[in-house]
Symmetry: D2
Subunit: 452 residues, 4 copies
């Protein structure tokens, strides 16, 4: 009787293989879904059921592809915004068995209308559930966001409150298995810890500890969440069932000349310092570890992408991250910045400036220069540098019109990472005079400069 | 903040890597301990502490070897039967931190006098423990055995009762991380499920549900446990610190002639059917999946062992299983039964007989033949075939004197697996006239024959 | 500049990835062709060309599947028996470049009419070829078989002689890269060594050393080769392009009851001794290492197959071997003979008899018993046991009518392996009274019995 | 009968596992030698002999460690500069067998006095050798360097000429297996191709094609080779037998504060652009792919090293490269430049300048600035930029006294990679005013600037 967690880094998405005897189920499979078949087979398990807790908006579900690979049916909760074409509808109390294991449906709307949890029982030890797959209803340290239906904000927050009470009623002893861990855009307050129980959350989870329904609704409605443009496409594909992806992705390596000739958008997936050191002129900076969070703001699903990576393994990882969120048109990958340099190719650098420089520029009160803070509004509310102008990194495309092409900008965030992503995008979109505050807010405070 | 479970099949031994930030701890490391260093390093963690829940008797602890590899100190509970030379003593309430994680010592004697549990806390979510490493005090579905101090049987059972109350007091929300899973000789009633909580155990664990101290003691004292002779050696080595084992084991492949010439004991680690089909005359049958449970009854730590395997990977796995329980003298391995046959080597077969044959032999009431049941006394108590003589497989060496060399024996167990192990040992020890009841009790009942 | 050999065990099929700079080619890809994409990508290479040396008859070419995966064109020699629908025709002297590497076509008919070799050149060191992909024209220690056009036997043998002269003319320094190694049905005299040169073959290869064209033809025409029935299907599929296979195969694990209910043919892929020990009644014996050579004689591409294996990894390997030769209908796999036994399932054993028993049976001149030798005619010609009846293992299906259902047979080969395969097939096809001579000819001679 | 090549990237060192039947030999094992045991065991081979072609000066031999792991004796040629304590001496004609394979000693002094080749024979196909392990005598496209005995330069070059004639006499058909491939410091003219034969080298190798002994000697004596200071230590350790290394290396991850406090030398093993982007102030730049070639010039075997890497896998690879050349004191590794930045740590950048900037600086004829070319003398002889000052990158430590601490330097090489290594070293050694010519000679020429 096993539960195996499969974590997709970047998205911090958690899916699960659960099995006993010869049978297994997969909960919330990701798009590159051969992994479940491999894991099941190596444990002597046949995947007989696929379960979704809700229609995902931040990634492409692998359920239809896995169904095709295995022949197993997909189960999904009732009342989806659009019909889920590839799934059968499950309702409160429906029960499925795998060897000695049972999964029982608990309707838990709120995050989405169709959200369900799956309660885990052990037929041989059946006093109280062993655990529960909580999807995006309950995380370790946080609960799901409820901003997807803006005109029904209070209603759905209330629905989540009620759903959480149902989960609490399962008992303190139930282990929780959520669909996301820390780092996900689906909840800001998640613990880095990836194991917890209903009881431990009841005692510690700040949102769960709000016992009053109205207070809970008020707290949820006051939250700030970002909604990248690719979410809309995910929602559609996760109803229709997107193009399948059953085997590992590997971009085609291209020679230096091919990079020269490409009409594709060049996306550099190396680390921030490597991009700053030197990069293909005009390329975007989307380090492999940040792609999942930021590609959805900057890329267009209809455009060809050419990757620049340290090596082909990094390029393959980046291509996989992109595929999980629906960017499939990777036409090749190049690695090797020094050969490109020696080939006399158009390379660029991104200048880093330090806290002292930023402080002195601010003091000079220069009228050709602005400190541009690209952090989130929550971060901004916590502390800010006086004199900085704010645009959230994800909103640059919408608000670039507010910037002046002849003006100089120093971009900052918390460390310099998102700032470099933003600065590269600005350079590629008509704002050439940008540099990056290395260390950003972290360095600013470490050097003892004041924040407000 | 991660907890990774490392399972050693066969022994069903569970050890854990726990870490946060840059630091990690290992709980109850096994002897082949490079795995922890690899896992930690690949997660960016440095092992700073090693914890033992108790002095193991069924395997060699990897704590001293891991301490040497990492420089980390070993921590062990108070009052061991012999001083633990390689460890520092921890006591109730001692607390250790790893990033945001804490481990707090809970003294839990009973299984052994030195037994402690380690309670897991999260500094950022500190209402009630997140979990607890329960060692051999509390398993999923069972509690630890208390037969290691025969003259203090009731005292130590009572101590375990008190220790379990302390664990229950941690709260229903605490996840339990025991040192063994189903299949271990350390508890017969364990669930096949490897995840549970204090709360779920409180509701379901048959032993935990005995609320009366005296009733608990009576139940524990009435249990039957086997004590293989190698346990005594493990106990000594786990106080002194046995020879280290830091790298993967691989037996030297030997040619057919070397097998011919060997003075080592030949141990066949292939499957039961393969052994029955044909095997080196005089070899023991210890299939790779059964070595951990039965080698300790039949092998002598001082003798050389020559393995016969399907292939060298199976031989390597078998060698590792043997090393974990202290049998280090594997001098080589041979694979290739058909070449041996074609070389005219001394091969033998083990005959399987079916239920019908056994039934008719029993009915004939033959006086040159006995049905020999090698199951455990607990299995025997549950059901038996009338007319069968019983010797537990592990007690054959002690009781072989009760058998008659000229007599014929059909050996049975539950399926035929242990029976084949037993039959091979009997043939190699002066009882040539043995065959095996294929399917044994299972087939007997499936065919509708009566049990009592 | 790399050449990587990819060996498919069982078929002893050799394919190659060759590359330089950013480009690579694959020579004679096998059906499960994702391996080439992985290998190329991890070396920073993009597969731009696929080459076939000839239309294979013993396996399904992966060229069309690999072409689909990579977009690379497939190249094939002229004059195929049927048009190769997925390939472009190459002719003598056509030259292709990959970085500093070149491949030049050398028409080398004989084994098949469409056979070509590909000569490897290095642009920077271009005096004389570096090597040559010799396909099935020239092996290490042997040359290709020429029995595929029975009515043109002498003509094609002569064509091969001429082709080999062209290869010899490349110079002693050229390394040879053949399409098969020892163990293939495509040449009986191959060396176990897998590296050689034109020069070393010129000096040592028994067939190449025949300098006279007529003597060579006479020698080739006198050879004995077997032609399993699946070859005809391979030939057709390798012209049309068979169904693609781009991802790893994993059979679905089935529970014991499913095995009970299956209407599929049960194929046991465990080792010969394991099959002999106990097996599902009526199952065929095709050990994983022998599947490639013998499945094509006994299985029908249109029937469902249920595997019995030691574990699911072995089942997966067996399924892959089957797919390479076009048997795709594996509906599941079961592992676990002892649970089946304990479930009272219909299991059987295969008795092994030794040389002494066979000798005494022969001496008795029993008229209800025959020693049945299933070795090849070449082995038979070398030595035989007087009194044995001969049917080649592959011809049992055709000649089973010559056997008597009530008669007892002891089956022999060289070691007992093929004999067990044959005995299992006989039992499943109306000849119940069979046992197997363990060790067979090898044991017979080792015991000092006479051969003629 | 197999020959497997094990390549150590960076050093471009080639070692070999050769085996047949049950026995294997290893030729020129590297220090991290568990790989040979694993490879042999998985192929069913037992390593029975270890052979060295010569006493290496560029890496630590793994022969003594492998001997300890396997019990196999080490064989080494006669006349070493110092006695090889761990080896037995072999002489011309000594022959060793492994199954059907033979290895025969051929004394081939020149590169070193003790150099031998091992000729590969196949007992079943014994007309002419199949191949030869040529060590550092003959490479693909080049021959060994002969500068290790400066006062006997002509004598040893002549000895190599004679040795190469002996190798040529083996016949064109013999495959060569050298101890180095392209990228090694042991021969500048090696082909990127890693497969060749005596015949192909006879036709193409520029040095082998010099048929006149005196002309050969003159050519060899005129060659330029660099001799890093660590060579002397390797020579001593390879006579004595250095400290063994039998298991994989993994540096201990350290937290940011530990990096702050370290007294160890900080070595940044990330890529050149990443280092340029931002790095720990005062750290050396030794990208993982360049460590093998350059660490030996800059590091001291007696100092502690703290690595900075992209991730712990890269750190582990770097640690392994360092160990192969005898730098064992890696005390930890840090990854995470952006957290360090956010922590306000002392970070630095390295400015890249382009060809246009360099050209204009040269034209200005500035007297506070010098273009510093760190390429080899052979590269310099081929083409140079007028006005550049030359110091070979490896000679900076010796010649830094010629540079002026107040002066500005732009460092160049062929691409900018070695220039960055050099610039980082200069900054850490009292020359703060350095930047790097990105693209260097490659970019210079691509932009059409003149070279002389």
């Amino acid at each position: 009787m096993i539960i195996e967690k499969i974590k997709s880094e970047g998205l911090a998405h958690l899916s699960y293989l659960i099995g006993d005897g010869n049978e297994a189920a997969v909960i919330d499979p990701r798009r590159d879904c051969a992994v479940y078949v491999e894991m099941a087979a190596s444990r002597g398990l046949r995947i007989t059921h696929i379960f979704e807790t809700h229609r995902n908006e931040d990634l492409i579900s692998g359920a239809p592809a896995l169904a095709e690979l295995t022949g197993a049916p997909v189960h999904h909760g009732p009342n989806p915004a659009q019909p889920i074409r590839y799934a059968e509808t499950v309702r409160e109390g429906d029960c499925f068995g795998f060897g000695g294991l049972t999964l029982t449906v608990l309707e838990t709307p709120g995050h989405t209308d169709d959200h369900v949890a799956y309660v885990i029982g052990d037929r041989d030890f059946d006093e109280g559930p062993v655990g529960v797959f909580t999807g995006d209803a309950l995380f370790v340290g946080d609960v799901g966001r409820t901003d997807f239906y803006p005109d029904r904000a209070e209603e759905v927050a209330g629905a989540l409150f009620d759903s959480l009470r149902k989960i609490l009623a399962l008992g303190d002893q139930a282990i929780i298995y959520p669909a996301h861990g820390a780092g996900s855009v689906c909840g800001a307050g998640m613990a880095s810890r990836e194991f917890s129980t209903v009881g431990h959350e009841r005692l510690n989870n700040p949102r769960l500890r709000i016992g009053d329904r109205d207070a809970f609704i008020a707290a949820k409605v006051a939250e700030n969440h970002y909604y990248p443009p690719y979410f809309r496409r995910m929602e559609r594909l996760n109803a229709e069932g997107g193009p399948h992806l059953a085997r590992p992705l590997r971009p085609a390596p291209v020679a230096l000349d091919a990079l020269d000739d490409t009409s594709a958008r060049v996306v550099d997936v190396r680390s921030v310092p490597a991009f700053a050191g030197t990069h293909w002129s005009g390329s975007l900076c989307l380090p492999e570890s940040m792609i999942s969070s930021f590609a959805g703001w900057f890329l267009d699903a209809g455009e060809d992408l050419m990757l620049v990576a340290e090596d082909m393994d990094q390029a393959a990882d980046a291509m996989t991250h992109l595929a999980r969120i629906g960017f499939d048109r990777v036409v090749g990958a190049y690695s090797g910045m020094m050969p490109a340099a020696a080939g006399g190719k158009p390379l660029d650098s991104m200048s880093f400036v330090d806290a002292e420089t930023v402080a002195s520029r601010l003091q000079e009160d220069r009228n050709d220069w602005t400190l541009l803070d690209v952090r989130s509004v929550d971060e901004l509310a916590e502390k800010r540098i006086d004199g900085a102008h704010h645009i959230y990194v994800g909103h640059l495309a919408d608000q670039v019109g507010d910037l002046e092409p002849e003006r100089n900008y120093t971009v900052m965030c918390a460390s310099g990472a998102r700032a470099t992503v933003a600065a590269a995008w600005l350079r590629a979109n008509g704002i050439p005079g940008v540099d990056v505050f290395l260390g950003s807010m972290g360095a600013w405070e470490a050097q003892g400069y004041p924040v407000s």
